[in-house]
Amino acid sequence: MTWFDHLSPLPQFLIFSALKILGVFSVLMFIVAYAVWVERKVSAAIQDRLGPNRFGPFGLLQPIADAVKSFLKEDFTPAHVRKVYYWLAPAIVMIPSILVAAVIPFGSYLGRQKMVIADLDVGILYTFGIVSLGVYGIVLAGYAANSKYPFLGGIRSSAQLISYEIAMGLSVVAVFLLVGDLNLSRVVLFQSGGFTHWIIFKQPVAFVIFLVAIFAETNRTPFDLPEAEQELAGGYNVEYSSMKFALFFMGEYANMAVAAAMMATLFLGGWTLPIAGLDQPAAPGQIGVGLLHIAIFLAKMLWVVFMMIWVRWMWPRFRYDQLMDLGWRRFIPLALANIVVTAAVLWMRAGS
Amino acid sequence: MTALTYIFVLPLLAAVALAFVPRAYSVVMRGVAVGVTFVMMLLAILVFIRFNGAEADASGFKFVTTIPGLGASSLGIVCKLGVDGINVGLVLMGAIVAFAAACCSREIRDREKEFYILLLVMTGGILGAFASLNLFFFYFLHELALVPTFLMIGVWGRGERKNYATFQITLYLSIGALVALVGLIALYLQSGAQTFDIPELTERLRENPLSAGAQRFIFPLLLFGFGILVSLWPFHTWAPMGYASAPTPAAMLHAGVLKKFGLYGLIRIALPLMPGAAQRWMPILAWLCLGNLVYCGWVAMRQKDFNWLIGYSSVAHMGFVFLGIATLTLVGVTGAVVVMVAHGFLAALTFGLSGYLYEQTGTLEMSELGGLLRKLPFIGAALVMAAFAGCGVPGFANFAGEVTVFFGAWNVFRPVTVLACWGALMIGAVYMLRAVRTMLHGELPEKWANVTDAPHLWRKAPFILLLAALMLFGCFPRLLTDKISPSAGVIVQMANPVLEGNLRAEAAPAPPKSALAQGGGEAVQ
Amino acid sequence: MHVGLEHYLAVSALLFALGLFGVLVRRNLLVIYMSLELMLNAANLALVSFSSYKNNPDGQVLVFFIISVAAAEVAVGLALIVALYRKRKTTHVEDLTTMKL
């Protein structure tokens, strides 16, 4: 590795970043692929059936089969669509979730490298900024299809995403009042030193709001109104088929994965675990500890993903007005109140 | 508090009071208007009579009084009233004409409330403007009197071209007034006196005259600003049309009194405060006034409508005053002031009479009228006398004034004077007498069989009064000239700074000639 | 060529000019409004670059205000445009002729 140490900092930085990006991306894709499998398995279990079980042990190779199927299907473009946007929309859907993954600390250190692609000081603002871009894919899909149901789906989705973004953002404000920093790594560090330091226990209200908002942001049941089959015959992705449809599908799961990662980082202690000193960052020599941190993070994240899948098959769908009502008239005031209370408590503590 | 205070304040207060009278009580309105103007007239006569005996302040003004509160004293804007020889006659004339106009207001039948309020405001404004010793209020009150004029013509006026006439008169007079305002403001600023008080300004400028540049700039503003207000040729077109369309009282007040404001302003302000520029501009003014005297007289001859005719004749008469002012001599200026007073009575009289005729016949087309003297002995006689006065027949005040002016002008602008004599006397006589002949003599058309003469004293009173005044001052011009000369002397002296240096020896009348002016006055007597 | 403040200002000015051009030329209210946003963004860029190059944080605070005010303005504006569209079925400025002289 001596040749490496001789490089100037910039190429070093570039190489490490490339490696991290590659790693994160592949893990994310893997999770996306297998989240689908998990989803099918979980739903099968809940509905007391078997689920995919033909291809590979427990149907484990099913995602590969699905992928092949998607690629081989005819890529049909209906005549009435707006072509450019029709092509663009599926591509856009994936981008935000991948971009958000860049700022999430998925581990402490491996060697001297911090296990985060970009350790931004404005991390959370960046996340929200990127998350808010997620709406474009869906809106454009709805617009591009140039037919009724996708259009309604697009409209619904944009309204829904914008509405719940506010609740989500406000709920997180309380967290940052507590932490005093927007940098996600420091948020994680703040949670080290005991289960009670996890923000889920300090900010339960924020957690609940955030959790629900995530469901809405990822268009998951009970908030999957933009694509509700019974109402809109599939919503914004009606006109899509083959690989383009698959991209939407993947986008949804990628969003889920990233949202779960955010959840884990913000509320569940990130890569920390308050046993066996695992809540402190790994020293340069402790490669094993570093790997363990990554594993802990993945475990938490997968747990959240699992829970989201679980919820999908357990809950009925909301009505649209109920959804809006919940967002605007319950959560936003609640989140505001939460902020005020948090600020007041902090202020009193600082005073005393 | 002097009589002047009441003359100024009474009509305005009465106007405010009338605003609260229900409109059904039109008799009250008329009563109040006539009563108030009558009181004003008595007060004005009182002031005139007691003028000689009254005590003058340092700057030669009498009955000086201040209305408290009005204006902004920090800017030197104080409502200060007072009279000297020049404006005492004007105030008297104004008050008499106002009373006459109020009496003639019977012809107004609708919206009497508004009309009498406007009439009173106009009266108060005019008299206040003449009595004001503050440059600001001098202007302010004149404008105050102008607005009602416009409204009266617009609302109660007659004829098809009423709207056009209203706008024309409004625009013309406003331009004139505003141009003059710019000049007045510039004068105030250039003087550096920090006051709008006329005596103080005069005093200050006597000691430190304005720079030549400032005078050159300001004087034309005042000359043409005031000139437009007085219908100086070629800015006269508003006058005949406006008067032809105006309701009688408005025409009487405006042509008789308000129009004199510009002339008064020239005499009071432009001449004494900017002598240098005055010297330069006066010859031009003299030639311009020929436009009034000859051209407008000529046009008057061609008129078919009596009101247009007297409108033009009124414009023509202004030429005398301009000529008198242009001489910059004591005689000329004195004569000018006398003409102003005389013409005030005369104009009011003619417009009042024409208004009566119009009321009776509904037309003033001279071709349609004729032989009216038989049906209207009183009105007809008054009209004949008015025509004589207009032609400058001795015995009427106009003659006294015009002759004085000619005496003054003879030495200064000889060719102009010759032309003016010809124009004014010959042309004036022609059109006036022709009008009298067509309207009063000859066949009486059938349709005028039932016109009636002024039925009772109240209808005759205004005409009698005005005629009496004309004849009084015609027979005893000394009543006026005695008061005017000393004050005019001061002004002329200020306006002729070079006189003392004998630089204009051949043009300017030597001091003995001012004695001649007195002599002229006596000769008339 | 080293990138300095003036480069940023040039970009900002060009962007401003672009926006102004759009406002003057385009006839669709929505696009006009987008062009206005471009102009505001140009101002933001100028403020940020001045602030950064002169080590003075005031400008960035002002940008914060501008962004939030712009958001509010857009909300009202779009509501207005939608209301107009409902009534008039157009977003074309040349169709707004109810009050021609």
Binding site: Y85, D121, L125, G129, I130, S132, L133, V135, Y136, V139, L140, Y143, S158, A159, E165 | - | M1, H2, V3, G4, L5, E6, Y8, A10, V11, A13, L15, A17, G19, F21, G22, N28, L30, V31, Y33, E37, L38, N44, L45, V48, S52, Y53, K54, N55, Q60, V61, F64, F65, I67, S68, V69, A70, A71, V74, A75, L78, A79, V82, Y85, T90, E94
Partner: protein, 191 residues
Amino acid sequence: MEEEGGRGRGAGKFSGQNLKQRNMPPTDILFYVFAALTLLCGVLVVANPFSRNPVTSAMFLVLTVASMAGLFVLLRAFFLAAIQILVYAGAVIVLFLFVIMLLDLRAEERRKVKRFGLVGALLSVGAITAIFFKCLSSSALGADPSPTMEGGTIALGKLLFTRYLLPFEIVSVLLLVAMVGVVLLSKKDLK
């Protein structure tokens, strides 16, 4: 620009003192990339030769805003870069899209552009730009050679809540007003 040379050279604006320098620092390359993107997308917002579709304009506006955020990052204004994306891309332009879709502006395609207006606009805009560049080249900016201020959240936040508290509060009133206004203007049937 050339005439001003005598005075303007000292400030050395575009006179290119470093033209010879071959290896550009990466931030400079990034600047050119982002600047070009910003302007290109800006042009496509305003005058897209291929499409008059407002949706296209809106999408390019997103790109403009995003590349501007890139410029902000280069200027070390990280907070504002995030806010820029969050507010403009995330809210404002979504709102635009939302409205465009709601109005379904398909009929609104090509209308004749008035030659006269176009030329006039070009001239006036060109004049303003020319004046600006002339000013730029002739006056001293007095700036540091490279960005020196770190526009972090904490620094700005502190300013925002101390010195600029009053405008901050007024903005909150403004947002309230805007909210009331939007509700009033768009609610279906008001009671």
